[in-house]
């Protein structure tokens, strides 16, 4: 509640510098899983920031560490196999990794909420959606059953579920996929959190519904001036809604850029490969480009740049030295704000 007021003076800050620093600041995060086959390094030094009203899209293949990063931020990582070896997750300047379980639980739902990929399995099948929505208000705000129900109906209206009042006592399986995802969104939105993490929110939906759900998310985000982290593997989904994009590969961010620039001028061969592998009508009849090879096994990440075995531009240096995330500039040395690329040959990739 209070946090909304703080940033309310900027109605739709797309390029947000509101308040004091970013909402969420992930610094040099390392997460590994101890498995029978060795240590799988799922996240290897991820850095990103999200401000109020800003949408960050985290893009990557399955196994690139994007979901693990999100789970670590939420504090729902299964800790016996998983282990955070390094890094900080600052929420409003406070390191969440140093907080007690109880402090973290109070942040979940109230300050940071999460939307999951499969809304059917993410909703409890034996409880009505009204109960599950109302639970947020009853538990966190101590509202009465009646008040919680009224608020739940209001919320269902807000996520555009038709005849909300009539459907409130229905069970999750009685809703269609799109409607279920709306309910999931409503649950995440219930306590007006500052930040929402959406983990592939539209992957389980068909294409027509995908756009509606994305639009709804973007609209609500503007309305509440929330930060939004959108995790996806679908370049098409994020183009309209994201402000900036972070591309992940093998647990590392390989490129960051404002959304438009990434599509027009990628500065990393992996991003370029992803863009080239989107089917296009004007290339009908030609063979579709595919990045050759497979994502690396996380227990045996290749030395040097993890992408080097699959990279068409790879040189000797790529197999020995890990490229840092370097700022990307114009040919004349003019800095491109918010751009970075973890490639030894980013200059050649973007300019040549």
């Amino acid at each position: 509640m209070t946090t909304i007021d703080k940033t309310a003076h900027v109605p739709a800050p797309r390029e947000s510098v509101s308040g004091d620093g970013p909402l969420l600041d992930v610094r040099d995060l390392h997460v590994e899983f101890h498995t029978r086959d060795g240590v799988a390094k799922a996240v290897n030094g991820v850095n990103y920031t999200v401000s109020a009203g800003e949408t960050l899209a985290v893009l990557g293949e399955s196994g690139s560490g994007k979901s693990v990063t999100a789970q670590t931020i939420m504090g729902i990582l299964d800790m016996p196999p998983g282990k955070i070896t390094q890094g900080e997750i600052l929420f409003r300047g406070q390191d969440m990794l140093k907080m007690s379980n109880e402090e973290r639980r109070k942040i979940r739902g109230r300050k940071i909420a999460m939307i999951f990929q499969d809304a059917l399995s993410s909703l409890n099948p034996v409880l009505s959606v009204g109960y599950q929505l109302g639970e947020m208000f009853r538990v966190h705000q101590g509202l009465s059953k009646k008040a919680a129900r009224a608020k739940s109906i209001e919320l269902m209206d807000q996520v555009k579920i038709p005849a909300a009042a009539a459907r409130i006592s229905d069970f999750p399986h009685q809703f269609s996929g799109g409607m279920r995802q709306r309910i999931m969104i409503a649950m995440a939105l219930a306590l007006e959190p500052d930040l929402i993490i959406a983990d592939e929110p539209t992957t389980a939906l068909d294409v027509t519904v995908q756009a509606q759900v994305m639009d709804l998310l973007a609209e609500l985000q503007r309305e509440y001036n929330m930060g939004l982290i959108l995790i996806t593997h679908d370049l098409g989904v994020v183009a309209d809604v994201a402000d900036k994009i972070a591309v992940m590969y093998a647990g590392r961010i390989v490129e960051t850029a404002p959304v438009g620039e990434l599509y027009s001028r990628p500065a990393h061969p992996y991003t370029k490969g992803l863009l080239d592998s989107i089917p296009r009508l004007d290339q009908k009849g030609q063979e579709l480009y595919a990045i050759k090879g497979l994502p690396p096994n996380l227990t045996r990440i290749p030395a040097g740049c993890a992408f080097s075995p699959r990279c068409p531009k790879a040189q000797d240096i790529c197999r020995t030295d890990v490229p840092p995330l370097a700022p990307v500039t114009e040919q004349d040395g003019l800095e491109l704000v918010g751009r970075g690329s973890a490639c030894h040959f980013w200059k050649e990739t973007i300019h040549g």
Binding site: I76, R105, R108, S122, K160, P162, D170, T208
Partner: protein, 317 residues
Amino acid sequence: MPDTTALKGTDAPATAVDAPPATDAGPAPGKPRSLWSDAWHDLRRNPLFLISMALILLLAVMSIFPGLFTSASPRDANLAEHYLQHPNWGHFFAPDWLGYDGQGRSIYARVVYGARASITVGVVVTIAVTITGLVIGMLAGYFGGWIDTILSRITDVFFGVPFIVGAMVILTSFEQRSVWVVILSMAFLGWTSIARVARGSVITIKQADYVVAARALGASTTRILTRHILPNAIAPVIVVATIALGGYIAAEATLSFLGIGLAEPTVSWGIDVSAAKDQLRNAPYVLVIPSVMVSITVLSFLMFGDAVRNALDPKMR
């Protein structure tokens, strides 16, 4: 279907695409269908369930209001007049209907009053065992790690004790054996199978996305356990519990027959069977009638459990 009217009025291609499958989702719109309502739908049409339910209701009424069934007292003994008087099959529900036992007591009255002990022991032991087993199984399954190791080993130890032998050992150490002593000793030994089933069920459920989602939205451990895991994990536990109920009634009769369960003056079918074994040759009905009552009771609870299992287990449909 109120949805259609709402659709026309409000904004939206956004809603229009989604809504039709939503309204058609359940075969019976408006009526919420959960696992439980589906199970109830099946059960209502299952003759096995209806018969067993009728018998159980009859036995329940009998144990609560035995006076409705007979005016005779089960403890009125008239050796001079009624010693081993044979049944008078035509006198329905009269004290001499099923004859008299070796103490000159009305067998019909004793059968009616004996229901209370059997049903009480069966139901209370089942409730106690279900609660204990659920708590232990849920803690072991949810927290895992060393908590699971300790609780599972304790469960194994109890599981290894043969039920009747264990109960004999405990019960013989009591001078006075009331119904509660019998119940406690049976519950003490019987919770293991429920704990195992609950643990397995919870381990499956705790990995469900909705449990992770609840955690991500800030639910506390207690709330996750009681609201999200328990309702989803309880079905197999209920199945095991209803089937076990019949077993506990049989076990009570067995222990009473062996002379270490309930004791006079408590009226119990097991005690009557035990007392009747001396006159088996000249008056078999004294033994057979309470035995048949035990069988009917156990059978109705087993049938009931079976019907519930079929209704709750989706794979059986």
